[in-house]
Structure formats: C-alpha cells, structure tokens
C-alpha cells in the first residue's frame, strides 16, 4: 500500500520535479551567461564599488569650499554700549563660531553683495543696520538684522537661517538679553549627532535605492529581449513560466551578490553600523532590488528590440528619479518605489525600526514588484511568433 502510494506520488509529481530541474538548468545557464557578459559584470561588480566609494567620501568629510554656504555680512552699525562694546561685532564673532556649514565674508557694499548673490558667488547677505548695538543695549527697542537669501536655493535657505539663528541665540545668552524670552535649543538626533557637511547615513538611503534599482533595471531590461536563443528553447519542453521564473531567481541571486559587495564596502571600509539589525537592512535592500528586477523583466518582455528596451529603461528610471527629487507632492512621492525604499532604508539603518514598523513601505514595495512581475508573465504568455 505504502509503495503504491509512493509510486502514485512520484508519478503525480513527476511533471513538477521535471519543471524544477529545468528551472535549475535555466538558472545555471543565466548565471553562466552573465559571467561571460562584460557589461553585466561591470554593472554587477564595478558600479557598486564606484558608487559606494563615492559615498565613502561623505564619511571621511572630503569636502571642498563649494560645499559651504557663503554669507556676506555688511556691518553698518557703529553704535556702542555703555561699556564701549560693539554688539554687531559680537554677533559676527558668534556667526564665525556657531553658523555651521557656513563661511562668513565681511563686506562693505550691499549692492556688490546682492550682485554676487545674483551671480551665485555667495548664498546670502546679512546686513546689520546702524543702531543695532544701541537698540539692543537699551532693552526697549527691538533690534533687527536683514537677511537676503537666494529664493531658488531651497536646501541652502534652511542651513543659512539655522546658522544665523544659532549665532543670534548665542549672542543673547552671552550678553544676557534673554530675560523675558525662551530661546529654543535645537539638536539634530537624526541622521547623526555629528556636525559636518554630510554623512554616510544620509547618503546610504538616498543612493542605495538608485544604485540597486538602476543596476537591476540595466541588466534585466535586456534579459528577455536580448535572449534570442530562448525562442528556440521554448520549442523544447521548457515553458515560458519556467524561463521567467529562472530569470527572476538568477537576477535575485546576482542582486544578492551585489548587495553583499555594497554592504562589505560600507561595513568593512567605512565602518557603517546600522542602528537596526543587519538582517532588516538586508531584507529592505533585497526588496529594493526585486522591484528593479520585476520592472526590468516587464520592460524586457514588452520590448521588441534591445534599443526599445533601453529607451523604456531610461524613461522609467528617469520618471522614478524625477518623482523622488523634483515632484514636491508628498502623496505622489510616497508611491515612488525609490522614495519607499529610501524611507525604509533610513528607518532601519538610522532609527532602528523593525520590518513590522515599516510594514506599509515593505508592502507597497513588494506590491509594486509583484504587479510588474505579474504583468511580465502575462505579456510573455500573450507574445506570439517567437520563432
């Protein structure tokens, strides 16, 4: 009875095992093909090394003068306190010390300073008007400073205002002008307590999704349209679904290898330590790659030529990046897989959140991947006239 049962199971499952064997052989074929493809090798190995290397510059603070915001300070104040002190000069000193990420440039001419701002040679003009010291010292009349900013430099505005505000707060505290005020003390606890131009904990969530999705797209967008002998292979018992499953698994394995290279460089070379577990970080990275693979396979299946696949790849990748960086509508941004991956990576590496905590991002990311992979399967099944 038992023997008969085993025999029946074996007979019933034979097609399944046959299919699994074929998928295994197809995966081997894919991987061996990739290892012989120089462009693929470049994308898999060299690209992560270059990009992660570039990210490392942030870790070691390799910065230039261009990375600092330049504030021209025009001091028109000549008044003094009863103790013969110039509070405008004291404010400038505070700016030198507390306006982080800013370079202070004393100037005489307001017109020249505004011209330089127009020319983007500097980032802001701070005017300390005549009477600043006397008004502040009187403790009766409010004292003002006039800050002129480049309206098109959204990122710089925040840093400059923060720098000036810090300097003013320090001045008030040092000279005891805080009797009836609450001075806010701000402290950035994320992404890093360290002060500096940038930090690898900022660049990792931004760059890694772009790298992983981009690399996966580059390789997989050519994987079906470029696999011309596959048309012949589909005249063997190998089915279309087996071919696509094998490709998905192969590229996932390659992505895993790529992720290991990136993690290896980040951890061993730059001492990158995620706040959360490495496993959570790994899961998010694999999911990010999976999205790139799914979209790439879909592109490859619907394309009729390698050139068309390249065009679709550029179009879709640019769309993702433009939504991430240039569309200010949060509701749309939240649906951008690059943004989803960015938030998920930031959450697990800098805040130590668990996969359950970032469940919505994980689900969205997986959902998008499943959606494109399903479309790839459907389009492949509908494709006719392969030979």
């Amino acid at each position: 009875m038992m023997m008969r049962m085993l025999y029946l199971v074996k007979v019933k499952l034979a097609p399944f095992f046959g299919s699994v064997k074929r998928i295994g052989a197809l995966i081997r074929k894919e991987l061996e093909s990739l290892m012989k493809d120089r462009l693929a090798l470049l994308v898999i190995f060299l690209l992560p090394i270059i990009i992660t290397g570039a990210m490392g510059m942030a870790q070691y603070r390799i910065t230039t003068l261009d990375d600092y915001y330049k504030i021209a300070v025009i001091n028109q104040d000549t008044t003094l306190t009863a103790e013969n002190l110039s509070l405008s000069n004291a404010l400038i000193n505070e700016m030198y010390m507390h306006a982080n990420e800013c370079i202070i440039i004393p100037m005489q001419s307001y017109d020249l300073a505004v011209y330089l701002l127009w020319q983007r040679q500097i980032n802001a003009v701070l005017v300390i008007p005549f009477g600043f010291t006397s008004q502040l010292a009187s403790q009766m009349i409010p004292a003002y400073v006039n800050l002129t900013l480049d309206g098109s430099d959204v990122e710089g505005q925040g840093t400059i205002i923060k720098g000036v505000t810090n300097a003013i707060a320090e001045l008030k505290m040092d000279y005891n002008y805080t009797k009836y005020e609450i001075i806010p003390s701000s402290q950035a606890i994320w992404p890093s307590e360290t002060k500096g131009i940038s930090d690898i904990k900022i660049t990792v969530p931004l760059i890694l999704p772009m790298l992983l999705i981009g690399a996966a797209l580059v390789i997989t967008s050519q994987s079906v349209v470029g696999d011309i002998p596959l048309r012949r292979m589909l005249l063997t018992p190998a089915g279309k679904s087996e071919a696509l499953i094998a490709k998905t698994i192969s590229y996932l394995l390659v992505s895993l290898l790529q992720i290991m290279i990136v993690l290896g460089i980040l951890i061993l070379l730059y001492n990158f330590q995620p706040v959360g577990t490495l496993f959570n970080f790994l899961v998010v990275l694999v999911l990010t790659s999976f999205f790139g693979i799914s979209l790439g396979l879909f592109i490859s299946v619907v394309s009729n030529s390698r050139l068309q696949a390249n065009q679709y790849f550029i179009f879709s990748y640019l769309t993702l990046i433009v939504i991430l960086l240039a569309v200010p509508v949060k509701a749309i941004q939240r649906l951008d897989p690059l943004q989803l991956a960015r938030e998920a990576i930031a959450s697990v590496t800098a805040r130590g959140l668990t996969l359950i905590d970032i469940g919505s991002q994980i689900l969205y990311l997986f959902g998008f991947s499943a959606f494109f992979l399903s479309l790839a399967f459907i389009a492949f099944f509908l494709k006719k006239g392969l030979v």
Partner: protein, 334 residues
C-alpha cells in the same frame, strides 16, 4: 500512434488549409514523408513554407486539415510534439548561445528534456563527430567563434540532442558558400543514415531536392509538385542521362541551331557557353551528337556524360517541356 493513420509515415499533412484573417496562406496542402526519409519542402517567397513550418511545429493551428508528426496529432498534442520533434532554426542568433560551446549549448538544451548530463555529453559528441567536429577542442570552441558552416552543424546537433524522431530544418543552406552547402547536405545525409532520423528540410532552392527522398514544391500556398525526385527524373528521356557540352562561344543564334539538331529532345543553358543536352530516347550517342554539332557550325570544346538533377527537371518542367503539367510555369524561385 492512436491518432495517426496506421502507416509508417513520420510526417503527414492532410488537406491542410491555413487562413489568417481573410487571407488563405495554405490551401488544401497534402504531403508526407515515410520514416527515415529526407523530405524537402521547397518554394519561393510567399509560397507558404514558413506557415507550413509553423504548422509542423504547432505554433499555429490549421484552419482545416490534419497534421501528424511521428504519430502525434500536432493540432492536439503540442507538448508531446516537443519530445519527438527536433528543430533547427534558420537565423544564426536564434540557434545557440554565442558565448557557449557546441557541447555546452547541447548540454543546456538537453537539460530542457531532463536528460542526464552524461547521456547528453555522450550523445552530443556522437552527433558532432558525425557532423565533422573531429576534435574536442572544436567541440568546446565558443559558438560565436565557429565558421558559418560549423555554426549550422552545431545547431543541428542541438536539434538532435534529445533523439527526436523527426528533425525539422528551416532553410539550413541560407548564407553558406556553394561548397559548404554541398558539405552540409552530405552531413545531413550521413545523419539520416546513421541515426535513422526522419529529416524535413524547408528550403527555397532546388539544390536540396537532389539529396531528398521526397520533395514537395509549394507555390502560392498550394502543392505544385509532390513525389520522389528519382521518379521525376525517370520522366526525362534516357532516364535522365544527358551530356554537358561546353562551346567556344554560344550565341542566341547558336542556341536556335541546337534546337534544330534532330537527336536532341531538350537542352538547358547551364553556364557561360555551356549546355546540358538531353538526347531523345534511344539516341544517347556521343559520336552522333558531335557530328551534328559540327554539321551545324558549332564547335564543342568539352563534352561529358552526366545525369540530370531535379533542378534540370524543374526548369524543363517550368518551360513547358511536359505539356500535361503546364499549370505551374510561373513558379518564381528567388
């Protein structure tokens, strides 16, 4: 064999009609090949060869008619067909993975049939040896580095790796030099004899016919000629025995003079200043022929006895030599 007519036919099309939208691509096409034979499906552009091939590989279903490959009803048993049919595509890029060797390609294609690795290697080497891959080094050379003829043979090996009953080749001679074409056809003959596989060659030239046991010529979706080339040649005078004659010069006027030579029934221009001459039955006499040429003022330089090819038969046929079959004169081979 349950669906097949009870015979030893490995390829059989019965009254097959294929219509795509309102256009009839194949109309009432019937032909067959017995087990172990070589069948050539020949036709010019638009004759319906590609459609025939797609019907045979179960890529399209005929609107009407029946198709059997080694007893398998192609229209109903597409999956079973994959096991019994080997296919060799025409385009080089579809044939094999360029970065892999002939052996490696055979391995991956063999694995699609779940064959054990050692069996694949043994069989691939056996086939490649028949196909002239004498050394292991040649078998392990990347496909992309092989010559045109070698690539075609490697592709044939892939098509045969799972020991199919029928091997289908799509225009295997395309892109090959004259000597490579003959070489490849001889290799196919060897394969057919040594492995006993039934071979179906889809081609657009008549050269293939001389290596085939059976041919079918398609013209605008219909069967123009079907049968054994040998039997067609028997229709020629003296069973196809003829002379190839090279002249010092051969003008149109000279050709008109040849027409007037009584012992000659047909002749064909087969090269520059060269004719293939078919004497009437019972008048196959070289000496008489030479005398006649000189009598008409023609100077033959070389004379050799030879045999007609199917190509010769077909040209005569197209020129209306056999009055009963005048209806397909306009077959155009590109």
């Amino acid at each position: 064999m349950k669906n097949s007519p009870a015979n030893n036919k490995d390829i059989e099309l019965k009254n097959v009609t294929v219509k795509i939208r309102k256009t009839t691509i194949l109309q009432d096409v019937s032909f067959y090949a017995n087990r172990g034979e070589i069948l050539a499906i020949i036709g010019g552009s638009g004759a319906g060869k590609s459609t025939c091939l797609r019907v045979l590989t179960s890529q399209i279903k005929p609107t009407k008619g029946e198709v059997y490959i080694a007893g398998c009803d192609v229209t109903k048993e597409g999956e079973k067909l994959k096991e019994i049919l080997g296919y060799v595509p025409q385009p080089e890029e579809v044939s094999a993975y360029p970065e892999f060797s002939a052996l490696k390609n055979a391995y991956f294609f063999g694995k699609m049939y779940n064959l054990p690795s050692d069996l694949i290697e043994k069989r691939a080497k056996q086939i490649l040896q028949i196909l002239g891959f004498d050394t292991e080094e040649m078998m392990k050379k990347p496909f992309k580095n092989l010559s045109g003829g070698e690539k075609k043979r490697a592709s044939i090996c892939i098509g045969l790796i799972h020991n199919p009953k029928v091997l289908l080749l799509d225009e295997p001679l395309t892109g090959l030099d004259a000597h490579l074409r003959v070489e490849l056809l001889n290799y196919l003959r060897n394969l057919n004899r040594q492995l006993g596989v039934t071979i179906c060659i889809v081609a657009h030239d008549l050269e293939t016919a001389d290596y085939s046991d059976r041919i079918v010529i398609l013209d605008r979706g219909k069967v123009a000629i079907f049968g054994e080339p040998k039997s067609f040649l028997k229709e020629l005078p003296n069973g196809g025995k003829c002379f190839r004659v090279k002249f010092k010069r051969l003008t149109v006027d000279d050709q008109k003079r040849v027409e007037k030579i009584k012992p000659i029934k047909y002749f064909l221009v087969v090269g520059r200043n060269t004719l293939k001459v078919f004497p009437k039955d019972g008048e196959h006499n070289l000496a008489v022929l030479v005398e006649e040429f000189y009598a008409k003022g023609l100077e033959p330089l070389e004379l050799e006895e030879t045999e007609a090819t199917f190509g010769d038969y077909f040209r005569l046929f197209s020129q209306g030599a056999f009055s009963a079959k005048k209806d397909i004169f306009s077959i155009n081979f590109e």
